[in-house]
């Protein structure tokens, strides 16, 4: 087990300093990714998915503080890394694809210049010609037409889908052990989304790269991942193998999410979940989902539930499952 674990996040807590005090965004997040595994993080907008992965790369905004927690990557604590080590982590260990490909590409440099720069620092000591070849190959791998010509293009000359492919090519131009994709298809047309997701899956499977895929779509998670973390308001509320999660969802929030998917096969309007994500400045003291939960018990608003084991690696942070898998009435 020890060897196969690539990323291990324990009790990660992140706060943002803002007007009027602190936003307690992440509240003791646990997450682990094995080598070659495809992990999904699912949750509503604003639940802390992006904050979690930005913490892994240490690219949180300046007003963020990390009072507690560890992030182990290949046995080393990312939060304690400095200078060179950190750069190696970013250049050779982990790559990230951002949500908005338009913002993630520099508008005044050509695609070629940008990819080659990434390669240059991921594989120090090479020659410009090799970098160029690698860049062209990466673009070709990302199923982009006419890569040679593309090298000379500027981002604004490409469509959104092509830009995201370029970003993926940039992330995977050199060997990486982990790819983080932060809602890579949210800003794309529906017809393109599927192609881009397939591309990501094909590339990580071919290269044996681990994947953390952030999405708010359960369908995408089911399609793409082996293991799913369900996140709510800065906490992980449920973890399970993908099939297990969809067959046997336990947490009331997960149930709510599943019920809010519109089905093509009739059924009409979906139920959705009443209420909104809580205020991070004054989060509920117990379970953060308690105020919206239709099965809440008195203890829920008093104490925070830990992740309870529900068998077979299925874990859920809900007091109803405190006694080891059996619902407590």
């Amino acid at each position: 087990m020890e060897d196969s674990t690539l990323v291990e996040i324990k009790n990660l807590t992140v706060w943002y300093r803002v007007y009027g005090g602190l936003l307690r965004v992440l509240d003791g997040v646990n997450l682990s990714v094995a080598r070659g595994q495809k992990v999904g993080i699912v949750g509503e907008t604003g639940c802390g998915k992006t904050t979690t992965v930005k913490a892994i790369l240490r690219i949180l905004p300046k007003n963020a503080v990390v009072p507690e927690g560890t992030i182990m990557f290949q046995g080393r604590n990312v939060l304690k890394m400095r200078g060179r080590e950190l750069q190696e982590l970013r250049g050779q260990g982990i790559a990230m694809v951002f949500q908005d490909p338009t913002a993630a590409l520099n508008p005044v440099f050509t695609i070629g210049q940008q990819i080659m720069e990434v390669i240059k620092y991921a594989r120090p000591g090479g020659k410009a010609k090799e970098w160029r070849e690698m860049a062209v190959r990466a673009l070709k791998e990302a199923a982009l037409p006419d890569p040679e010509r593309l090298m000379e293009n500027y981002p604004f000359q490409l469509s959104g889908g092509m830009r995201q492919r370029v970003c993926i090519a940039m992330a995977l131009a050199t060997a990486r052990t982990l790819l983080i994709a932060d809602e890579p298809t949210t800003n794309l047309d529906v017809t393109i989304q599927d192609q881009v997701l397939r591309l990501v899956r094909r590339l990580v499977e071919e290269k044996g790269t681990s994947l953390i895929l952030i999405t708010h779509s359960l369908g995408v998670a089911r399609e793409m991942t082996d293991l799913v973390y369900v996140m709510y308001a800065g906490t992980m509320v449920e973890v399970a193998q993908t099939d297990e999660l969809f067959d046997n969802p336990l947490h009331p929030y997960t149930l709510g999410l599943l019920q809010s998917i519109p089905k093509l096969t009739g059924g009409g309007v979906t139920q959705g979940i009443a209420g909104r994500i809580p205020d991070y400045a004054n989060p509920p003291p117990g379970c953060r989902f308690a105020p919206r939960c239709d099965q809440a018990m008195p203890i829920c608003s008093e104490r925070k539930p830990a992740l309870f084991d529900a068998g077979g690696g299925h874990q859920v942070a809900c007091w109803r499952f405190a006694a080891g898998g059996e619902a407590v009435a």
């Binding site: 790369l57 690219i59 905004p61 750069q87 190696e88 982590l89 970013r90 250049g91 050779q92 982990i94 790559a95 990230m96 951002f98 908005d100 913002a103 993630a104 590409l105 520099n106 508008p107 005044v108 440099f109 940008q114 720069e117 990434v118 620092y121 991921a122 500027y154 604004f156 000359q157 970003c167 940039m170 992330a171």
Partner: protein
């Protein structure tokens, strides 16, 4: 092809603006004062003299004919006679303009290099003592009019600690080179008068620094703030996330887009240099176009005023075109799509 069409459009627009400017200046010089001839000669001049000047300036003809005649002269390089120096305005301008251009070019250089350098350093170490010093000094630089700097410089470097000359363009004792380009430094080099070159340079330093400080501070501030803004963009984050060292990201990938606003504003700053040269040349008794222009203004020398202003408009329009070219070079969106509306 994109850049070519962009330039053609830009030039056409400039010609239109210059045509409009000629009307504006004509209105200011001929219509605003009521009777320019009386204004020029003063209230005590005899009527016959005013009358003959009116005829000389075509003031007895209808307004549109006056404009036509004035514009025709303008296009032929004939700006009329100065009422003060009694010479053709064009000759006066030819004599005085190079000196001003020399000062303005020199201070534009100081402004651009100094401003961008300070801005980048300041943004590289945000909130360090260096950053704070630069910000405070930049503030002082921006809020202090150049003529105040000029007075302060004259006081400090001219009298308290006299290390640099504060009057004119060249010492009386130094042999001047023959006038060829009109640019003293250039002429001195061409004719091998190194002593004149050195002395001319020394005379140039204080006025051009006094002129440059405001724009330099402005450039430093804009560079700093646009760099800081771009630092927060996703692509900066992405480059960090891909393992590109911060100094490369900053010095190359963030600097280029960040210079776009700096350079765009530079057109205005250079215009401000010409405008402020009007005041600074006065303090340093520097024989440039601006001093000439001010004297014309104080003496209501209508022809000279409109000539000088028109020349300023032409220069400013030219500077704008150059700046647009630089922006087009920096920003492929402008270059390849062909003209974003500046705003």
């Amino acid at each position: 092809m994109g850049l070519g069409r962009f330039m053609v459009r830009r030039l056409a627009l400039s010609l239109l603006v210059l045509a409009g400017l000629s009307i504006l200046i004509f209105l200011i010089a001929r219509v605003v004062p009521g009777d320019p001839a009386r204004l020029a000669l003063g209230p005590r001049a005899p009527e016959w003299a005013v009358q003959s000047l009116r005829e000389e300036m075509n003031l007895d003809k209808p307004l549109h004919v006056q404009y036509y005649l004035w514009l025709r002269g303008l296009l032929r390089g004939d700006l009329g006679k100065s009422l003060l120096t009694r010479r053709p305005v064009m000759d006066d301008i030819k004599e005085f303009l190079p000196a001003t251009c020399e000062i303005v070019l020199f201070s534009a250089l100081v402004m651009a290099v100094g401003g961008i350098l300070l801005g980048v350093l300041s943004a590289s170490y945000p909130n360090s003592w260096f950053d704070n010093v630069v910000r405070v000094v930049a503030y002082l630089g921006i809020v202090t009019p150049s003529f105040v700097w000029a007075v302060i410089f004259v006081l400090i470097f001219g009298y308290i600690w006299p290390i640099l000359p504060v009057i004119g363009r060249l010492e009386m004792t130094v042999e001047a080179p023959p006038v060829f380009t009109g640019f003293l430094l250039l002429d001195s080099l061409i004719f091998g008068k190194y002593e004149a070159f050195w002395d001319g340079l020394r005379h140039l330093i204080l006025p051009s620094v006094a002129l440059a400080l405001g724009g330099m501070a402005q450039a430093a501030r804009i560079t700093r703030s646009s760099l800081m803004e771009n630092m927060g963009k996703d692509y900066a984050l992405a480059q960090v996330a891909y393992g590109i060292p911060w100094r490369v990201t900053l010095g190359k990938y963030l600097l280029k887009p960040s210079l776009i606003p700096t350079v765009s504003v530079m057109a205005l700053d250079i215009a401000a240099l010409f405008a402020n040269a009007f005041l600074v040349e006065l303090v340093f008794n520097y024989p440039g176009i601006s001093g000439y222009g001010i004297r014309a203004m104080l003496n209501k020398d209508v022809n000279a005023i409109s000539g000088v202003i028109m020349v300023m408009g032409v220069i400013f329009t030219g500077v704008n075109i150059i700046v647009d070219l630089v922006v087009a070079y920096l920003d492929p969106r402008v270059r390849l799509v062909g003209g974003s509306q500046s705003g």
